[in-house]
Amino acid sequence: MSLYTYLLISAIIFAIGAYGIITQRSGIKILMCIELLLNSANLNLVAFSSFNGNATGQVFAIFSIAIAAAEAAIGFAILVALFRVRDTINLDNINILRW
């Protein structure tokens, strides 16, 4: 597989993630889409690392995975707190702050 195949796949994943963020209403799904975005970048990094012949990319990817985990944790925490107050995580309804 050439580099471009990886890039293509990563681009597709990225696109799916982006599309999901725009269209989904559930907070959880949006979190998952963000994970998709991050992982498309990770895929890139690893692929480039392999083709560039140095390990920096893989190191970067490991960092990024760790961060993504933390991020997801925070995201869920916020969603839980929100759910306690508002009884919903449908993002369409969460718009008291606007204009």
Partner: protein
């Protein structure tokens, strides 16, 4: 010795002004004695100066630098000294008279302060040795006139008349100022081009410097300058077409009318032309260039005004209005004298004109004071409500009759006995005739002689209506107190006998411009020998006018009711003063200037420049835009994400287009 204190002539009344204004309330008679004393001082110094310089043909010149190359200074030459004596003397008499006349007015201090300031300003006009100081004093005279016309400011008509007087004369003043601007520019160009050197004692706008530079000034420019000066004179002396303010100015106290609008201030215009006469006289050289001769215009305007004002004098019913139009008419004579005689006898015209000016000052002041005395007695201005007053007011009646005779110019020709007006006015009419002979243009003469007839008719109409016949009002009238009648008698003496001074006067004034510049003016031509009929004619029309009035208004030989009715268009035209107030004030003043120009300006300013551009286009658009854009912030987070991603997409597209893609 007196001439060293010449500055005091002006300063004394100024000091009196300040003192009276602030201390007048605490002094008896509203502090009237301060200005009287001060003006008496001015008169004494003037007289003393005259006696000093008359025998030696001297002149007094004092000057000091002021600002930016201008100066303040004093010039007392024959022209100035006779004016000084006249103004201070008449003013003194009128002030004395006013002590009685104004005795019941609560605002006496203000009155006397203002008349005192007026006298100072007028004396300063006369004394000025440069045109700027002349202009400044001239404006102050106008200011005082404004203040005094509006003396009873709580009367709306008085406030309106004051405003009108100031505005109309302002039109002339602006022309005068424009003339000064033009003169200054020409003078400084002459000076910088070094074609002309000024000594350290000479200043750019000094009369002396100006007159010396006359030959160097471009003749066309000189004509413009003189015409603009004359424009100023038209405004101040109430010549056509800026005459309308003067009859309205009668809203002030009668003493003011006598002082300002008859004897002194209005003559400032004539004095201006006389003062700068060498410049006017130098203009005919440009006739060939198609530019009109300034003196010709002076003559025509003066002559026309003399006639024009006299026609209105015929129909006025307000005693002061009649006298006001008479003043306008007589000022026209003075202008006419400067214009026609200037062409015939050169600078001697100044003497002729000034002589009429001074004799007019005496008899017109007298007329007004008499009118004041009458008004004081009957409490109305309307001559239709007077009548039969002679029995009750002998002194007033007699003195007024003398004044009327003087105004009508009645005397006995060939043996030279007559009233002041006889000598002064007949001389002008004769010169107008000579001018006709010389130039083949008898129009000025025609103006003058017809006006003389009308003058005689209206003044005796006034006298007969007021003093003879049956009383037409119930009011019990009585003679005025001595403080008022004594000045009348003094003035009557002058009105009767001043004329005999005419020869000496002419001689003295003829030297005027020679003394200043040191050059001898060429005497132009000997007087023509005149046919007796021409010499007699002015007197004949004068007497004729008297008889006509006697017939109509005393003997009631003619029924005037047909003529004197608003059905008669001519009468209506005259009574409405040729619709001048309507055209001047309503149409030009209010409709055109205020309603059309100013209001449309206001509209443009508020609605277009400010409203449309600033408020609507800039202000409202921004607010509306803000309100609109604000709504894009929906509060839904997916939309935010969409915008972010859309933004990235757009950026990529923009940059790809830039690069064409690789």
């Amino acid at each position: 010795m007196f001439s060293d204190y010449a500055a005091l002539i002006v300063l004394l009344p100024v000091i009196a002004f300040v003192l009276t204004l602030f201390l007048g309330k605490k002094l008896p008679h509203g502090g009237a004695y301060l200005p009287i004393a001060a003006i008496a001082g001015s008169f004494i110094i003037s007289l003393g100066t005259f006696l000093e310089i008359y025998p030696t043909d001297g002149i007094v010149q004092q000057s000091m630098p002021w600002f930016a190359g201008m100066n303040l200074g004093i010039l007392i030459d024959p022209l100035a000294v006779v004016m000084l004596m006249m103004v201070s003397f008449v003013s003194l008499l009128i002030h004395i008279y006013a002590v009685g006349y104004m005795s019941h007015d609560p605002a006496k201090p203000r009155y006397f302060a203002e008349t005192s300031l007026f006298t100072a300003a007028m004396l300063s006009v006369i004394l000025s040795d440069n045109i700027l100081q002349f202009f400044i004093s001239w404006e102050l005279v106008g200011l005082c006139s404004f203040l005094l016309i509006g003396f009873w400011y709580h009367k709306p008509s008085a406030a309106a008349a004051a405003k009108k007087a100031f505005l109309v004369t302002r039109v002339g003043d602006v022309m005068f100022l424009a003339g000064i601007v033009l003169l200054y520019v020409n003078m400084s160009e002459i000076i910088t081009s070094r074609a002309f050197s000024v000594g350290p004692e000479n200043f750019i706008l000094q009369f002396k410097t100006m007159f010396e530079a006359i030959p160097l000034i471009n003749p066309t420019q000189l004509t413009y300058i003189t015409l603009l000066f004359f424009g100023g004179a038209i405004g101040k002396s109430g010549q056509f077409p800026l005459h309308g303010w003067l009859p309205d100015a009668m809203e002030g106290p009668t003493t003011v009318s006598a002082l300002i609008h008859a004897a002194t201030m209005v003559t400032a215009g004539v004095y201006l032309v006389a003062r700068t006469f060498p410049m006017f006289a130098a203009t005919p050289a440009t006739l060939s260039a198609g530019v009109p001769d300034s003196l010709l215009i002076v003559a025509y305007v003066g002559g026309f005004t003399a006639l024009f004002a006299a026609t209105m004098g015929l129909v006025m019913n307000d005693i002061k209005r009649v006298l006001a139009y008479s003043t306008v008419s007589q000022l026209g004579y003075m202008m006419l004298a400067l214009g026609t005689a200037g062409a015939v006898v050169g600078a001697q015209a100044v003497g002729i004109s000034m002589f009429h000016l001074i004799s007019h000052a005496f008899f017109k002041a007298l007329l007004f004071l008499c009118a004041g005395s009458v008004i004081h007695a009957v409490g109305t201005n309307d001559i239709r409500e007077m009548g039969g007053l002679f029995g009750k007011m002998k002194i007033t009646g007699t003195t007024m009759f003398i004044a009327a005779l003087a105004l009508a110019g009645i005397g006995i020709p060939f043996i030279n006995i007559g009233t002041a007006g006889f000598f002064s006015k007949d001389m002008i009419i004769e010169k107008a005739f000579e001018y006709g002979e010389l130039k083949g243009d008898f129009i000025p003469y025609a103006f003058a002689i017809i006006a003389a007839l009308l003058t005689s008719i209206y003044i005796f109409r006034l006298w007969f209506m007021a003093f003879t016949g049956k009383p037409r009002s119930e009011r019990h009238s009585h003679e005025s107190p001595g403080v008022m009648t004594r000045p009348l008698m003094i003035l009557a003496l002058f009105a009767l006998f001043f004329g005999f001074a005419h020869l000496g006067f002419y001689d003295y004034l003829n030297k005027n411009f020679e003394l200043m510049t040191g050059e001898k003016a060429a005497l132009e031509g000997e007087s023509l020998q005149m046919s007796p009929i021409i010499v007699l004619l002015p007197v004949i029309v004068g007497v004729l006018g008297l008889l006509i009035s006697y017939a109509i208004y005393h003997r009631r030989m003619l029924d005037m009711s047909k003529l004197v009715s608003t059905q008669n268009p001519l009468y209506k035209l005259l009574l409405n003063r040729y619709y001048e107030p309507k055209i001047g004030a309503d149409i030009i003043g209010v409709k055109l200037t205020h309603d059309v120009v100013a209001q449309s300006g206001e509209f443009v300013d508020r609605k277009i420049i400010d409203g449309l551009v600033i408020d609507n286009i800039i202000g409202n658009t921004l607010f509306k835009l803000g309100e609109f854009v604000r709504k894009l912030q929906t509060g839904v987070v997916q939309n935010y994400a969409s915008v972010t991603i859309l933004g990235i997409g757009l950026l990529i597209i923009i940059l790809r287009i830039k690069f064409g893609g690789t």
